[in-house]
């Protein structure tokens, strides 16, 4: 009989590689926009299994879950496996924190290679040197005309989170930058 509906990602099927850098659409992931003040942090810690990082531009990881500092009371949680985070947050109620599932609002592009920083810096004005943006650092910033969340996963590897509807633009921007990097 017929298959059930299949969800497709906005960048499915794309791939790009050139000397010094490759672009790959990231696999689907659960994402949560987490907002919490002081008194909501304990609950967040209980659900995530670790405390959301408190320092600007820093991230924390445990198992499949990454928690990225976005602002003083805002985090982006990315879960590569489906460990049921939205349901767990829903169960705790929303009185002391807000957890909004944005799994399908965002998509991500994985950028890897020795030229990764050069490619990003063609549209992102931040200092991405290892000293100021080390492995594990993350930040909401801009790339060209689009807002992104940048997460450094390795010395030469970045995850570029962007809104789904901007992903075509971000992909093309990175591809053009890679061609001339």
């Amino acid at each position: 009989m017929s298959k059930v509906a299949q969800r497709t990602g906005p960048l499915d099927g794309r791939n790009f590689g050139t000397t010094g850098v490759t672009l790959t659409p990231a696999a689907a992931a659960t994402r949560i926009s987490l907002r919490a003040r002081e008194d909501g942090l304990a609950t967040a810690k209980k659900i995530l299994g670790f405390a959301p990082p408190g320092k600007p531009k820093s991230s924390a990881t445990k198992g499949s879950i990454n928690c990225l500092w976005i602002g003083p009371d805002e985090w982006l949680v990315i879960d590569a496996d489906d460990s049921g985070l939205p349901a767990k947050f829903a169960k705790e109620g929303n009185t002391k924190l807000s957890a909004v599932e944005i799994s399908h609002r965002n998509t991500a592009i994985l950028l890897e290679g020795a030229k990764a920083v050069d490619v990003l810096n063609s549209g992102c004005p931040q200092d991405l040197s290892s000293a100021s943006f080390p492995v594990g650092a993350c930040s909401r910033t801009i790339l060209g005309k689009s807002e992104i969340v940048l997460y450094r996963t390795g010395e030469h590897a970045f995850r570029v989170e962007c809104w789904r509807s901007f992903s075509d633009y971000v992909w093309s921007f990175l591809m053009d930058a890679a061609k001339s990097a």
Binding site: K57, I70, P72, E74, Q126, R140, I142
Partner: protein, 123 residues
């Protein structure tokens, strides 16, 4: 590129991540429904627009998302300092102002780079 110190990110970040948001320290009247039209106009529309030190709200919109305040010189456009929203208006010293003042008229740095002579030629 202009670098702006975000008090929440605790570092200088490129201006492209920020958006200006008008004059700071404007208290919203608690009795909004009762104030006269003239008072409302004063609160809502009338701004000081000082020439010199100005206090402004800024938002790190493409960063941490937070609003914060800044003391800035409106002629040189230079920042004196930034501070968190809700903090008191800081006292700015003469030394701080002198550090961001535009160069005085007649000093080389204040002269336009290109001037056009009487016969229309660039000098």
């Amino acid at each position: 590129m202009l670098l702006i110190h975000c008090p929440y990110c605790e570092e200088e970040r490129p201006e492209l991540e920020f958006r200006g948001a008008g004059e700071a320290h404007i208290a919203r009247p608690a009795n909004m429904a009762e104030i006269s039209d003239a008072d409302f106009e004063k609160f809502f529309f009338i701004r000081d627009n000082e020439k010199g030190v100005v206090y402004e709200r800024w938002r790190h919109i493409h960063g941490c998302g937070r609003f914060f305040n800044a003391a800035r010189h409106s002629v040189s456009d230079k920042f004196i300092m930034t501070y968190k929203a809700g903090e008191k208006k800081p006292k700015i010293t003469k030394t701080q102002i002198d550090a961001v003042k535009p160069p005085a008229k007649g000093t080389p740095a204040n002269e336009p780079v290109w001037t056009v002579g009487g016969k229309g030629e660039a000098k």
